[in-house]
């Protein structure tokens, strides 16, 4: 019974997500994407567009991602020091 309820819930959720994804319109303007794809090599000197975007156009994303990893590890070390034994 519980299993059937969970399966029903998951199927419903999946239908909702698929419906929302179908209605979703690409939010970023098309010109921006075209600009990135056309001119990333002369802008940044990279031949891999992904590297060009995460190290140049969207550098703040990379910075805060690195910060999140550092914060997570610092927090883990801090909290384990209390209860953990050497």
């Amino acid at each position: 019974m519980r299993r059937a309820l969970i399966i029903g819930f998951v199927v419903l959720l999946m239908a909702a997500v698929l419906h929302a994804a179908n209605r979703y319109v690409d939010a970023a303007p098309q010109e921006l994407a075209e600009y990135y794809v056309e001119s990333f090599t002369e802008d940044t000197g990279a031949r891999n567009a992904v590297a060009a975007i995460y190290l140049n156009y969207r550098i703040y994303d990379t910075l805060f991602e690195a910060l999140i990893l550092l914060a997570a590890i610092t927090a883990m070390l801090h909290f384990f020091e209390i209860g953990g034994k050497k």
Partner: protein, 127 residues
């Protein structure tokens, strides 16, 4: 049990240098081919954790490794702040490629150290 372990450890020992080279290749060449600092660093971390599975000896100085990671994060903030976010990026286009390689290297080392610390801390200290 010991038989299985010795087979696994021999194979891991054979693969070890090649996987290290592959991880470094993915980091260094991240701006030309698919890959980059995060993926290469994760490969290096997976290698260190796999070595723990084969031979569980605790030889990672966690406090020092964490200190190194903090220093690398400082570098990750300082390098773009001194290059991409200033006028230097437009003035000296020749520096773009060294900048990408340096950033990929820094991110790769940071991710490798961070993930290895997490697993080693979990495996040896938490009780």
């Amino acid at each position: 049990m010991t038989e299985e372990r010795s087979i696994v450890s021999v194979v891991t020992g054979l693969l070890y240098p090649y996987v290290v080279l592959f991880g470094i290749y993915i980091i260094i060449n991240g701006h030309h081919t698919p890959g980059g600092g995060f993926q290469g660093g994760a490969i290096l971390a997976a290698l260190f954790i796999g070595r723990y599975i084969v031979d569980p000896t605790n030889d990672l100085p966690i406090t020092r490794a964490h200190l190194i990671e903090k220093a690398i994060f400082a570098a990750i903030v300082i390098v773009p702040a001194g290059f991409i976010l200033t006028v230097a990026a437009q003035r000296v286009p020749a520096l773009h490629e060294p900048y990408l390689v340096a950033m990929n290297l820094l991110i790769g080392v940071k991710v490798a150290i961070g993930l290895t610390i997490v697993v080693f801390r979990y495996a040896f200290y938490e009780e």
